[in-house]
Amino acid sequence: MTRAATLCALLLLAAAPALAVIETYEFSDPQLEARYQSLSEELRCPKCQNQNIADSNAPIAQDLRRQLHRQLEEGASDEEVLDYMVARYGEFVRYRPRFGGAALALWLAPAALLLVGVVVLVSTVRRRAAGQPQQLSAQEREEVERLLRDGEEP
């Protein structure tokens, strides 16, 4: 039993590299590597649309990773890299689109919805607070008493 468990654990450990992307790049500076990681997670693979290029094994994602590595080693800023990618693949390649244009709706929708929620909440609370039990007028009281006494029929 313990043997089987050990074997299982070992096999699981051996499988871990399968989760990693195939190729690895050497970086001259660990900071570049960190930027490579964050950019490759932010860039979206144009071919396999719901993956970033860090996760995708599509040939185009490999090309983009190679390009990203080269640009970073050449000293490009994050902004330059993103501009380069957007110029070729459109705003589509960014998982965090720029503020403006068609993406404006995406950026503003959460705030707008929150605002609507607050308005609804405030108005509901106010109405509840204002809705104190009202006093019946003399005429209404008479009507109620008559209904209680005689039933529905007039």
Binding site: P46, K47, Q49, P59, I60, D63, L64, Q67, V86, A87, R88, Y89, G90, F92
Partner: protein, 180 residues
Amino acid sequence: MASRLKLFLPLFLFALLALFLFRGLSLDPKEMPSALIDRPLPAFSLPRLDGEGEVTQSDVVGQVSLLNVWATWCVSCRVEHPYLQQLADAGVPIIGLNYKDEDAAALDWLGELGDPYRVNIADRQGSLGLDLGVYGAPETYLLDAQGVIRYRHVGVVDERVWQGVLQPLYRELLAAGGAP
């Protein structure tokens, strides 16, 4: 009266949502407009596939033409090949961009299936492909006489695509100037 109308609010919202979702059914999420529409063909200098020197953007620009991205590893390219041949026979200039392929395999393919291309650019590393924003072959770009990209079609060019989309644009560009 106003509160009566308010009762219908969920229905309105539902109808609006249903409208959006229904519209979404007929949209193809893979259909992305190229980022290079109305921009000139990127500059390049790459070997010709037939080995006869280099080819640059100025060599392929000058008339309204199609730029077809293809490769021997691309199954759909084989599907569209006979139709490209038909277009070429009808006089449509087609420039080939042999994308991340092996020259020998590509030359074999052209020898075997016919060569609809005016010239073939050998983009072995996919560098021009990257500048064009190619994300998978086949892709077909429509260039005007000044070498400006006017349209991109991703996927197989067949009779339906040509007659429905590419030909009207092609004719429009021809009429605007630029002999075939």
